[in-house]
């Protein structure tokens, strides 16, 4: 069975807690996901949303649209925002030195999901993530 979930929000006033609250609702309706699957996906999605809020906002805020699809094989999400284009080279994304105090976000996302994509489409940024589910 495939289930779809979506939410639109503007940040600010919303912050990343809106993603946690959205996922709490998804998990309550998709009880088949394991705790490990949930936490890995939550980490990836919260990191993406935080990245958008920190880097895409030029001061006027960003409007975000989040769509999530859960089926037997995978969990995936599309996050689009109206912020400025990212100067992003996902292939060059790596974990910084251990004493570094920032710069881990996208590297973490890449390590906990199976696919991470970014593209600029018209005047929007479109982020996609997909995590394969453990065989039942």
């Amino acid at each position: 069975m495939t289930t779809e979930h979506h939410i639109d929000f503007a940040a600010p006033p919303a912050d990343v807690n809106i993603v946690h609250e959205f996922l709490d609702g998804v998990w309550s309706r998709d009880a088949s996901l394991t705790a490990d699957e949930r936490l890995a996906f939550e980490l990836a999605l919260v990191e993406l949303a935080a990245n958008v809020m920190q880097h895409a906002d030029t001061g006027a805020g960003v409007a975000c649209r989040l769509r999530m699809i859960v089926d037997e094989a995978s969990v995936s999400a599309l996050l689009s925002d109206t912020g400025r284009a990212g100067d992003i080279d996902l292939a060059a994304c790596e974990m910084p030195d251990e004493l570094s105090e920032s710069g881990r976000g996208l590297a973490l996302v890449q390590l906990v999901v199976d696919e991470l994509g970014y593209q600029r489409v018209g005047s929007s940024n479109l982020w996609t993530i997909r995590k394969a589910r453990a065989a039942a």
Binding site: D15, V16, N17, H20, D36, L39, A40, E42, L43, V46, E47, A50, M53, Q54, M95, E98, L99, S100, E101, S102, R104, G105, A107, L108, L111, V112
Partner: protein, 110 residues
């Protein structure tokens, strides 16, 4: 995000965190702990048993506090990370730097 602070001896403190440490709450965690370090308690143990979620901003805050503690000739250690936190530390290559201890007091005494 809730927290408690227990002062230990003259130069140490146990900070117990609870809830989510993310982009919203990580700056407050950093401010709390660096304030304690500035006030002279440079040996810090952060107990994570009741922390349900951390992300890269939480890691950044903890490393920032670790750096501050070390500059003051102290250290920062963590205790009782949940399975989720352990997984995040491992995937971030921070499990050696932030080696977990079984209790906050064990972390201070080690």
């Amino acid at each position: 995000m809730d927290h408690t602070v227990e002062e230990v001896g003259d130069d140490a403190a146990v900070i117990t965190l609870a809830g989510r440490v993310n982009m919203v709450t990580a700056p407050a965690v950093r401010e709390l702990i660096t304030g304690i370090i500035s006030a002279g308690r440079v040996r810090i143990a952060v107990d994570l048993d009741a922390v349900e979620f951390i992300d890269s901003s939480a890691l950044g805050s903890l490393i920032g506090c670790l750096n501050a503690a070390r500059r003051a000739n102290g250290d920062l250690r963590i205790s009782r990370p949940t399975k989720h936190i352990l997984a995040v530390l491992e995937v971030s290559n921070l499990i050696q730097l932030l080696r977990p201890y079984p209790s906050a007091h064990a972390a201070l005494e080690a």
